[in-house]
């Protein structure tokens, strides 16, 4: 009797786990609520969209069997400490096979320590800071281009504008990503022959830029480069208008590619420059979605808003695992980790081939809002469209 009960109990435990073994479980903790929920949704939607698509095309071939992908997702409420706890739970309690990343560099910086400790590979498309990849970690891979490189195409373009700007102001928020952007941009500005008239770090979530803007105005700075968060950039543009501060050129690391930015600012969004490593171009071929343009259409139809590079990176993260698992022919973390390191394939996000440190290289296309439309103005092969430059005073717009 006891033996029978024991057997039944064991079967009861074994049954669901046997079912689960069919699926390859990917775990992630992203910002679904809290201050960065607005960008976090790209990762939730991107992960789910890619997993559904890969499963619909037959799943992933690991060894002899075709296996489906499944996702275990937590909401970290835009709280770094909570996200670390959730990644620990994902690997220790939920026993996920592999990890997908959170949004934002400071999150990826903390969470990658979990993947490193438990030796479970994490592919993330939310953190670009060079700091994440400079620690010699073996289990972290990134599908965003390096933060230090964000402004390189912009500075390159600045040198070719007529009349050429001479003074540059660099403003950046005090978090891992934006500090890395500034550290990478400073030498570029000097090498380009510009004078760095203002180099200021401000605290994240600053809502008042009137002092900085007044300083920019009084020093008559030509070009302003801002590395910050979307809320800060919205405040920056609005307060620039209300204080009549109009440099010849301003560019922002985030916000400009999103539909949200244009919607919030209306006509005031015009003239703003930005950058994106990804545009929905039909030239970006993809093994699952056809190409990036088709992907963008299907994504918009499903979720009701346009994808930007965050969504494309999220999809590339899942695809990287699918490809690496197939190449490794196994679900063993170490083998998949080695397969990831050797990976080289064309995706809708661009070529996925990780460097020694674990990051991919993608050129940043300079973009500008022109008459309410997002326009690519400068890419790796030079000018694409004519940039609107110099920016006129606010009173003449």
């Amino acid at each position: 009797m006891i033996r029978r009960l024991l057997f039944a109990a064991l079967a009861g435990i074994a049954l669901p786990s046997a079912l689960h073994a069919e699926d390859i479980l990917l775990g992630a903790s992203v910002q679904l609520t809290g201050s960065t929920a607005n960008t976090g949704r790209y990762y939730r939607d991107g992960y789910e969209f890619a997993i559904d698509k890969i499963n619909a095309t037959g799943g992933v071939q690991a060894g002899n069997a075709h296996q489906k992908l499944a996702l275990k997702l937590y909401d970290n409420q835009s709280d770094v400490n909570l996200s670390v706890q959730q990644y620990v739970r994902l690997v220790s309690a939920d026993k996920v096979n592999f990890l997908l990343g959170p949004f934002a560099s400071n999150f990826a910086l903390a969470d990658s320590a979990v993947s490193e400790k438990y030796e479970i590979p994490m592919v993330q498309g939310g953190g670009a800071s060079d700091q994440i990849f400079n620690r010699g970690f073996k289990y972290i891979f990134g599908t965003l281009p390096a933060a230090s490189d964000y402004f390189s195409s912009t500075v390159e373009m600045l040198a070719k504008l007529e009349p050429k700007p001479t003074t540059v102001a660099l403003l950046y928020a005090d978090d891992a990503f934006d500090v890395a952007v500034a550290d990478g941009t400073r030498p570029l500005v000097k090498k380009g022959g510009f004078t760095l008239a203002l180099d200021e770090r401000y605290s994240s979530n600053t809502s008042d830029f009137s002092s900085l803007l007044s300083e920019i105005k009084s020093r008559n700075v030509d070009a302003v480069l801002v590395a910050g968060h979307e809320t800060e950039i919205l405040n920056f543009v609005r307060q620039a208008k209300s204080l009549s501060v109009s440099p010849k050129f301003y560019s922002f690391t985030v916000g400009v590619p999103t539909a949200d930015f244009r919607q919030a600012l209306g006509a005031d969004a015009n003239w703003a420059f930005g950058m994106t490593p990804w545009l929905p171009s039909p030239q970006l071929k993809d093994p699952y979605f056809g190409d990036a343009e088709e992907f963008a259409k299907a994504y918009k139809a499903k979720f009701g808003y346009d994808p930007d590079y965050h969504a494309a990176s999220a999809v590339a993260d899942v695809e990287a695992f699918a490809q690496a698992i197939a190449a490794a022919g196994s679900l063993e973390p170490n083998k998949v980790r080695d397969a990831l390191a050797k990976l080289d394939f064309e995706s809708l996000d661009g070529r996925i081939s990780f460097s020694e440190k674990g990051q991919i290289a993608l050129p940043q296309t300079v973009i500008q809002i022109q008459n309410g439309n997002l326009v690519a103005v400068y890419g790796s092969k030079g000018f694409v469209e004519k940039p609107m430059y110099p920016m006129p005073p606010w009173s003449e717009r």
Partner: protein, 287 residues
């Protein structure tokens, strides 16, 4: 010199906005002895009210301010009457916990209802300004400043001169005596809390015109309002003006001369200093 004067003007105008944001918190704190941690959430709700009245109802944001304020008065009145009145005689820790909980609830309901998208209230004149002697004054901030002063004066008059104000103050000073004279504390508490929420609602509308709105702006605004109330003191609405202006000017000058990373260090630094030197606030009565 020009730059210094510009920064000073920026600081004064920023202080006006701060004053308006803190006014409601100081009123509720001073009269009801409730530190309302949901105050920032009320500001956020006021901002959304103004945003939707403007974008969907095509009502000018300044005309929408009183409508939003009345709506927030209702929410505030109901909150006090149905929830906070139950713990009025409990230790202050209970009201802190409850208002903290309310803040979380309002914030997440706002995300469900309005999404986490960033919004701005952007009428054609939102970026308009006037330049006097080379110094630029944004019009909307001047308006916010004037409205802040106006509402402070109205509140002062209301509390000092009107029958309602006297009843409110009497209830706060001596509950038993006020009751003997026929005051209804439950109703008066709710009116006071409602007034605080209405002031937050008006501040929210103006905040949306100069800044951006999302469901999560509340917590930082509560912290700012809290600091202003302490710096200025809770004795009179004038203290809130002094606190707001002090904070606005110090933050602006810090950003220019010390560095923009240090604005929060400066503002909470003054808070600590005031607590050490004048615990009742700059304008508070010393005993």
């Amino acid at each position: 010199m020009q730059l210094f004067l510009q920064i000073l003007a920026n600081g004064v105008l920023l202080g006006g906005l701060y004053t308006l944001m803190a006014l409601g918190l100081a009123l509720v704190w001073g009269v009801l002895n409730i530190v309302n941690l949901a105050h920032g959430a009320f500001i956020m709700l006021g901002a959304y009210a103004c945003y939707y009245l403007f974008t969907l109802g095509h009502i000018d944001p300044f005309a929408a301010l009183p409508i939003g304020a009345i709506g927030l008065f209702g929410i505030g009145y109901a909150t006090q009457r149905c929830i906070l009145n139950l713990v009025m005689r409990a230790p202050i820790f209970d009201t802190l916990l409850i208002t903290f909980g309310l803040e979380v609830v309002f914030t997440y309901l706002a995300q469900l209802a309005f999404s986490a998208d960033f919004r701005t209230i952007n009428p054609s004149y939102a970026g308009a300004n006037v330049t006097v002697a080379g110094i630029t004054f944004p019009l909307v901030r001047i308006a916010a400043f004037v409205i802040a002063l106006g509402l402070t004066a109205v509140m002062w008059l209301l509390l000092l001169r009107s029958r309602l104000g006297r009843a409110i103050r009497a209830t706060a000073q001596n509950l038993t005596a006020a009751r003997l004279y026929g005051a209804e504390p439950r109703h008066l508490y709710a009116i006071t809390f409602g007034l605080g929420a209405a002031l937050a609602g008006a501040a929210g509308g103006l905040y949306g015109v100069v800044s951006q709105i999302n469901p999560y702006i509340g917590a930082t605004l509560t912290a700012k309002s809290f600091a202003i109330s302490i710096i200025g003191g809770l004795e009179s609405p004038l203290g809130v003006i002094v606190g707001g202006l002090a904070l606005g000017i110090v933050e602006s000058l810090t950003a220019l001369y010390i560095g923009p990373t240090f604005t929060n260090v400066a503002s909470f630094g003054i808070l600590v200093l005031v607590l050490i030197i004048r615990p009742t606030g700059l304008l508070g009565r010393t005993t």
